[in-house]
Symmetry: C2
Subunit: 229 residues, 2 copies
């Protein structure tokens, strides 16, 4: 496997949680798995560390970046401001190329929604919001956006694994919001883009909150069985 593929693979596996947050990353093990020597692997880890995917400790190796409670709190606090700022800039800096990327990514996202493929949904949603960031062309906001998206995507894995009909409806709403956002960009309407972005965030935030604080177990755990009988 080549270095670029290695980078993409590790990145994807961190985003879809198949590499668990906080999990240790041993160099020799990863080398065997992906068929590269330690030099390029270590350089890839350094790069991933710079982007916030992994955390390095001197003489103690790498670990997948963790997602503890203070971090989630911080995400809730920061995300709306950054997402809104990015949306405004993107609407002001619309480019035909950028719009095309958004449209094709959105097509892939919608397909994943129709096929109920959680992993693909997460990836294409991630890419969609990253593409908005690229169109915003703000080198100083991009690093924070990318950091946010890493953890936002990881937390959304559960969100996309929708069980109930209500949850599935929520996902379709989110998908429609993407289309509305593209429209706002095409019309170069910053205020509208910001408003839609905040709605979109509200939807996502509710999903995360339901994951962090799920509905409590029934007081009588046997109730369901009794009902069935």
């Amino acid at each position: 496997m080549k270095k670029a593929d290695l980078y993409a693979t590790l990145r994807a596996r961190i985003l879809d949680l198949s590499l668990a947050p906080g999990g240790a990353l041993e160099e020799t093990a990863l080398c065997e798995t992906y068929g590269v020597s330690r030099t390029p692997l270590r350089e890839t880890l350094q790069r991933l560390a710079g982007e916030g995917f992994v955390t390095l400790a001197a003489n103690r190796g790498a670990a997948v970046s963790s997602m503890d409670l203070p971090v989630i709190r911080s995400l809730m606090q920061t995300a709306p401001m950054i997402y809104a700022a990015i949306a405004r800039l993107a609407a002001e800096n619309t480019t035909p190329a950028g719009i095309n990327v958004l449209k094709s990514t959105q097509r892939s996202f919608r397909k994943a929604v129709e096929q109920a493929d959680a992993g693909q949904m997460a990836i294409h949603n991630h890419r969609f919001h990253e593409a908005i960031g690229e169109m915003a062309a703000s080198p100083y906001l991009m690093p924070s956006l990318k950091r946010l998206l890493i953890d936002h995507t990881r937390m959304s894995q559960r969100f996309y694994n929708a069980r109930t009909r209500a949850e599935q409806k929520t996902i379709r709403s989110a998908c429609d919001q993407h289309d509305a956002m593209i429209d706002a960009f095409v019309q170069r309407a910053p205020a509208h883009a910001v408003a839609l972005t905040l709605d979109h965030w509200a939807l996502s935030r509710d999903g995360i909150e339901r994951f962090v604080a799920p509905p409590p177990l029934p007081l009588d755990p046997t109730q369901e069985i009794k009902d069935a009988v």
Copy 2:
């Protein structure tokens, strides 16, 4: 030289412009200069790339991150929002340890101002604002703050090399503002901290603007000499 020192040295030399923005960084040359082999050097470059100090191109080596006009525009646009958000969070999350770091850094900064040492001023000012970011404890804003500080510090190099009395007075004002900001943190006054931060930014922004758009040459370049005679 050890890897940690190498990182610190390269970082400092980029910040104080002794490594010019856009300048190429050849691996073998750097190895000779700092007495390390290519493996740790390359890993250091990867790390610096992740933090925005250098830019890597595949098969084409590293270069110090450039500072062109679009980037400066973007800095002007982004800095107030991020600095203000960080100031607010820092005021809300004040810690004794954080305050101590700020106070000791500010002492070093003031000393540099008194000694008119531009390089030290830039370094300690950088550290001061980084320490505010650490106290804000916001993993998602920190990356953007660090990106901003890199270019803000580099652009300020000229600012700190004050020629006129007016400029020197401006620097002393900036130094006093630091003390006022520390007070606002100690009193846990977020709104006040934000207001002071925006004043501080305005001062710095004027300095940068004077550097980007310096006063035009006198229409008659010989005027000064004539006056002197």
